[in-house]
């Protein structure tokens, strides 16, 4: 039951606040006009997504969600929310990306540290405006009282839970789009029905905020409890979530011819025995993206296993190697039969 919907509770609170009239601070309401406008607000607070200045306690219409298999971001914890304006709902399109109405938003806060030591680093927002989606990064101050627009991004030292020090990259506005793009337009990439739990989807339907629970939803494995799960499913989900936003037709790396989407089953498109095109030293002396049965001869593994710019994949949002992700993909390739293209 980790996927709970606080939408109803939040609405009740807002209603209660209104009735009490002055006894409690007026409820924070999301600033729809600002969201739909054409400005780039200087602070996250101006949107009114959260009741508290520290970016907690979501406002009415702001709903938390989790993904079965999440994107790796140097081990940062992520707090994900969607915002839907009053009376609007998401539309499910098969097992793919949910369709968001104009006026909605996706909000993701990146944090390091546990419990009282948790510190917010940045909050990225995707706004669905009448002329399309806009991606903006906001960086939290040291006092954790304000997140300010960081159009040009930032680079800052972070101590990870394991004690290692890294240079963490807050992406700039264009870098947001580098991943969030399809045929040159900004799009969301995370909330696909196949990567959302049935419970959450059902609750959203019940709350009137989603058209239906589509077939094929919740089909990606839960990365958090992956022991014993099917290796191919885990690896393919990982690649879909971490790589396919660029590596698909119309994506940022379409010219590579590599298509790592969940629904792609053609071996060559997935990289099996596929020579590189523009890998440069990212090829690491290997001749194909995936050499069945031989992860050590596979460019895919070589690049995932590097943190060095020019070699490392993904190119953005990663300063460290995701050892667990590499292990799963490694195992998947090792288990492939060399003689045929078993995927």
């Amino acid at each position: 039951m980790r996927h709970s919907v606080v939408l109803l509770a939040a609405s009740a609170l807002a209603f209660g606040g209104a009735i009490a009239g002055g006894a409690v601070p007026p409820p924070v309401v999301v600033n729809d006009a600002l969201l739909l406008g054409d400005s780039m607000p200087r602070t996250l607070e101006e949107f009114g997504f959260f009741r508290k200045r520290n970016g907690t306690d979501p406002a009415p219409g702001v709903v938390p969600y989790e993904l079965n298999t999440p994107l790796y971001s140097d081990g940062a914890d992520k707090l994900r929310y969607i915002y839907l304006p009053d009376g609007e709902q998401l539309v499910a399109v098969g097992d793919g990306l949910l369709q968001f109405p104009v006026g909605s938003a996706i909000i993701k806060t990146f944090a390091f540290g546990e419990g009282a030591n948790q510190r917010f680093i940045e909050t990225r927002v995707l706004l669905h405006r009448p002329d399309g989606w806009l991606a903006l990064p906001y960086r939290w101050n040291d006092e954790q009282t304000e997140a300010r627009l960081a159009l040009a991004g930032a680079r800052l030292p972070i101590t990870r839970p394991d004690g290692s020090e890294i240079s963490y990259r807050v992406p700039n506005k264009n870098q947001c789009k580098t991943c969030h793009s399809m045929d040159g337009e900004v799009i969301p990439i995370g909330p696909k029905a196949r990567n959302l739990s049935k419970e959450w989807l059902a609750q959203m339907v019940e709350a009137g905020r989603l058209s239906e629970v589509p077939a094929g939803s919740d089909s990606m494995p839960d990365w958090a409890v992956r022991e014993g799960a099917d290796t191919a499913a885990l690896a393919r989900a990982y690649l879909d979530v971490n790589c396919a936003h660029c590596h698909q037709p119309g994506g940022g790396a379409s010219n590579s011819g590599l298509d790592l989407r969940w629904e792609q089953d053609e071996p060559h498109a997935l990289g099996i025995r596929k020579p590189p095109v523009a890998a440069g030293r990212g090829a690491g002396g290997h001749k194909v993206s995936i050499a069945p049965g031989d992860p050590d001869a596979s460019i895919l593994v070589y690049r995932m296993d590097s943190a060095e710019p020019g070699i490392a994949m993904p190119e953005l949002g990663k300063s460290t190697v995701d050892e667990e992700g590499v292990a799963v993909v490694r195992k998947w390739i090792a288990e492939m039969k060399q003689g045929n293209d078993a995927t």
Binding site: A278, G280, G310
Partner: protein, 400 residues
């Protein structure tokens, strides 16, 4: 009357220019915070604006990107305004452009960790008087491409200089309507490479001390295949004998040192009026793509290749492929200036130089089965015409 004749063309120019009247110049200087200041200028620029890079060295830690149409990024000169990526910690290239009608001019990119400048889906882009350099010279650890436009229409790369790329200095991929002229490409694996592209003119360039001077390739299995209608003319292709330093796995890693102009697959390649001097394997090479592929659209052989009016200097004296030295010895110490694997179709040879064929009969046949021979003259089967490249009206006017 004099005033009138001057005014008329000016008016025409002004009307043709679609940039807003109130175009702004965003001036950026090197120094503290250059990364953020420059990136912010690239984000906040509006169509028609110019981002002006003052002279000096910009020490950058992350890749830069431009996603606004119609912006000019201009420096004070290719040796004056230097974007220095020696300390780069993230991104796959120095500068990434993803918008249309962009002009990049008069600045340098040094030591990018991945590619130098990449433009993807950026139509009508101009690279003018740009320098992209890996300052340590040939090194497998250098970035792959220097100037790298891909998946676009109407591309002009001119008067630029690229050195040290571990793949291609100037690489145009999966694009069409391309002019690459008056550039100098030095000490790259491939000097200039036109790959999976149509309608390209590669003219008046100097390609020297690369592994291969100018490559025209077509590869299978990519979104766009079937490259052709390429003119390689009036270039100086000299001393391209640098040992191949490309990381293995990349297609250019198979290019022999000492290659002048190389055609792999493609249809309609014209090699004319070039000066081909001291390339130790072959001045002109035509070969089929030999690796396995599964792509019905793909023609692995070079088809309709024309060579005419080239000047051939010494060369072919140290062929850099297995058995090459024996073939050279058998032919009097050096290979003839033109080499084919024998798999080409409709070769229009208007130059009088001899051609050595490896005598292969089928695509993928091992080189060990080569039966080297001087290619017998064959009648020209089909005349091959080149359709000149015309860039859209007003594009080159942006440089004035």
């Amino acid at each position: 009357m004099i005033r009138l004749t001057v005014a008329a063309p000016l008016c025409a120019l002004a009307l043709a220019n679609t940039a807003p009247v109130l175009a702004e110049t965003h001036t950026v200087a090197p120094g503290q915070g250059a990364q953020e200041r420059l990136q912010e200028a690239l984000i906040l620029a509006q169509p028609g604006d110019e981002v002006l890079l003052e002279a000096g060295r910009y020490m950058l830690t992350d890749g830069l990107s431009l996603d606004v149409d119609g912006v000019t990024v201009r420096g004070a000169g290719a040796d004056e305004s230097v974007l220095d990526f020696t300390g780069q910690q993230g991104s796959g290239e120095g500068l990434l452009v993803t918008s249309d009608d962009v002009t990049l001019r008069d600045f340098a990119v040094e030591n990018a960790k991945g590619d130098g400048i990449k433009s993807k889906g950026a139509d009508r882009i101009i690279y003018h008087a740009i320098r992209v350099e890996w300052t340590n010279g040939p090194d497998a650890n250098n970035g792959a491409y220097g100037i790298y436009p891909v998946e676009a229409s109407d591309i002009l790369v001119q008067d630029s200089y690229v050195r040290g790329a571990s793949d291609a200095g100037i690489y145009v991929g999966q694009s069409e309507n391309i002019i690459v002229r008056r550039n100098r490409v030095v000490e790259n694996v491939a000097g200039i490479e036109i790959e999976n592209s149509n309608n390209a003119e590669v003219t008046e360039n100097l390609a020297t001390r690369n592994t291969g001077g100018i490559l025209v390739f077509d590869l299978p299995g990519l979104p766009k295949v079937g490259g052709g209608n390429v003119l390689v003319a009036r270039n100086a292709v000299i001393d391209n004998n640098t040992d191949n330093f490309a990381p293995e796995g990349n297609i250019v890693a198979s290019v022999p040192a000492g290659t002048g102009v190389m055609v792999m697959a493609n249809k309609g390649v014209h090699i004319s009026e070039n000066a081909l001097v001291n390339n130790s394997t072959s001045h002109v090479m035509m070969i089929a793509y030999t690796q396995e592929y599964n792509d019905d659209r793909y023609e692995p052989r070079p088809v309709d290749v024309v060579i005419s009016n080239n000047i051939y200097g010494t060369g072919g004296y140290a062929p850099d492929f297995a058995g090459g030295d024996m073939i050279a010895a058998a032919m009097g110490g050096a290979l003839p200036p033109v080499l084919t694997d024998g798999l080409h179709s409709n070769f229009v040879k208007l130059d009088t130089v001899p051609v050595v064929s490896l005598g292969l009969k089928t695509v993928g046949q091992p080189f060990a089965e080569a039966q080297p021979q001087i290619l017998a003259p064959v009648p020209i089967v089909t005349e091959v015409k080149f359709t000149p490249v015309a860039l859209p009206d007003g594009m080159e006017a942006r440089l004035q």
